[in-house]
Symmetry: C2
Subunit: 199 residues, 2 copies
Amino acid sequence: MSTQTGGRVRRQSHGPGSLLDVAVGEFLTRGYDATSMEDLSRAAGITKSSFYHHFSGKEALLRAALERALDGLFAVLDSDGARTGTPLERLHHIVRGQVAVLVAELPYVTVLLRVRGNTESERWAMERRREFDAHIAALVREAVEAGELRKEVDPALAARLLSGLVNSVVEWARPDRDPHALPDAVARAAFEGILPARG
Amino acid sequence: MSTQTGGRVRRQSHGPGSLLDVAVGEFLTRGYDATSMEDLSRAAGITKSSFYHHFSGKEALLRAALERALDGLFAVLDSDGARTGTPLERLHHIVRGQVAVLVAELPYVTVLLRVRGNTESERWAMERRREFDAHIAALVREAVEAGELRKEVDPALAARLLSGLVNSVVEWARPDRDPHALPDAVARAAFEGILPARG
């Protein structure tokens, strides 16, 4: 096999940030388990030893990618709108913020959502995702208890469905499309229905 | 490595149906690409040649698994409730039926949803999924045009979000839980909101 891969060969010098971009792209195309450091250095157009200068190996790259996605998502929970207001107002803010992060960090969040727990970093990331989801589930419960949501809402089920709805956006979102319209549209779908009957 | 894998070794004789169950279980645990016919015959507790007696190879098993999932889903579109009534009534029926199939055929549908198009069978399955989704998108459009859904519903976006919501159920559904409550709960979430405000 040739090391030429047509238009995908890159010859410019890379810092750690753009190497991470390249690695995430390869993880998404080939699957993490099937990607070798050989593949990564070929895709980046640098030698394996230059690559090892920045990252100790494949798992370090995965870890950095997962951290970037999780940092973005947890920053939403730390933002003002997620910490003030009624439970329902916070949920609105978080859902919009979560979708904005999904779109802004699309390949990183996609890697995060495909994690199945085969390595230590993956298990760590799954644990962090569970923390995030538990935060949302607690807020849904508060909103029900505060009488802001219909009484028949089952908080655990609602939190799961909300997570499923929001995360499904990575399957088709494109960062070049209007990044403002999508967070509002997903929030509206979550709170008023994807298919709301004409009232 | 020993060929013993503790409680997972099975020694009884297998027909093609239960071999397919075993294969799907391995695909989900190891990932399709990482699973060998060696792994599959070991998991089934039979020789490789007995396995080849039933299936010509790994891709034939994948194809059979994908067909089972897709046959289940397309049967929903062919059912009476999906072909009679208003567009909104049909959508209600289809969403409930889709969730019921997801739960009843959970491992098979999970394999289907993880397909990324690396083999001919995977590309075939993705094409069939697109057909299914196009059918739903057309019905959403009809429901908007018939005035059954709010005018501001964007049919293409709504169809994508609906597909994301429904399919996310495979991440946590358990077939032993009440298989009747879940289809209704997901349908309610889709039509009235996951987090409906107290009216």
